[in-house]
Amino acid sequence: MSNSILLKVDNIGFSINQNRLFHNLSFNLKKGKALHIKGNNGSGKSSLIRILLGITPAGKGSILWNKNTDICFLGHKNVLKNYLTLSDNLYIHGIDSNESKTKDILADLGLIKRLDTIVGNLSYGQQKKLALIRIFLNQAKVIILDEPCVGLDDSTRILTTKFLSSELKKNKSIIYTSHIPIDIDSETITLGGNQV
């Protein structure tokens, strides 16, 4: 496998309860590139991402990650403890809320004054923002996002887009699904129908 290819997906197929979602799907992920997985509801986007993450086994075919590829993942679940405060939640994810970099991002997202709020009392959008901080501060080579923009306000969406394009420039790779358009350079994979 050449060094610029991080992920090689070869001929995978997947079905739930004998209901075939996709088959003969092949693609590569290169360094510094983004992949946008498109498809209607129920076309298997989230399943494909879970297969790529190694959580769900694929029915057939092979998935090869380049060695030492670390992944940062945000799915539908925000991985937040709703009985803990905002800063405690960051602590669980290994983020120090007193660092200047973290503080900058918190200020950008308008969460800096709410560090001592219990997460259960935040709105859905605010919780999503908090989950995004983990993505913004990650050191991983690959970022995988499943519908990151659901429930976000415009300013945060622009912030996310900016962040993602700066990551691409830093030679990181992104795989994402989103019904809300994110304005970054990306190849598209469409699931369902006669595509692929």
Partner: protein, 215 residues
Amino acid sequence: MKLIFVEFFKLKMKLRAWLGPILIFLLIIISFPLTVELSSEALNDVFYSILWIASLLTIMVSVESIFLEDYEDGYLEYFYVANNSLFSLIFTKILIYWILIGIPISCLGTFFSINMSDDISSLNIALPSLLISTYIFINLFALGNSLSLNKGSALGALITIPLLFPILILLGKIVLNANFGFEISNLLLLMLGVLLLIIVFIPFIISFIIKTHLE
């Protein structure tokens, strides 16, 4: 090491999840004497079995949602993606539950048993057996609850309790032997051996089960 701190922190911040069970243990211990004539010989005879059953019930209540919260908010998934294995998380979780719930109720139980038999030697029986047996109970209930996960704790208890009978019988034998003045260290060693086996294998089985849940 960081994992231990994080898990400790998570459980510590949930008062109801660890203080609740300790208080339940106390309540069960209190409620048994209320049903027997007070200060009777009968209570002395059955006090140890009250202790064992009380610790079993307490552990059953406290472990019922050991993995549920982490499953629902996506933490298990997150951990699996980051580490490609769940073993360390599960092992740590069980250890933390033992430290925050198992050890306190062992000490409380021992305290009451000294009071009960006016005999300091019961310290040698109650404390080690409670410490070892609570760890075993937590492991096995964690196993049962990982199978039932989001399907309610009654199913987990139904699956687990039959697996615990050998340990209960062993605990009974320890008290019997102690009452006759026989050596009990070999029985304690046997239980310790069971614990060592369980400590290694149960988290493995649980991580397989939880991986299946995540699929």
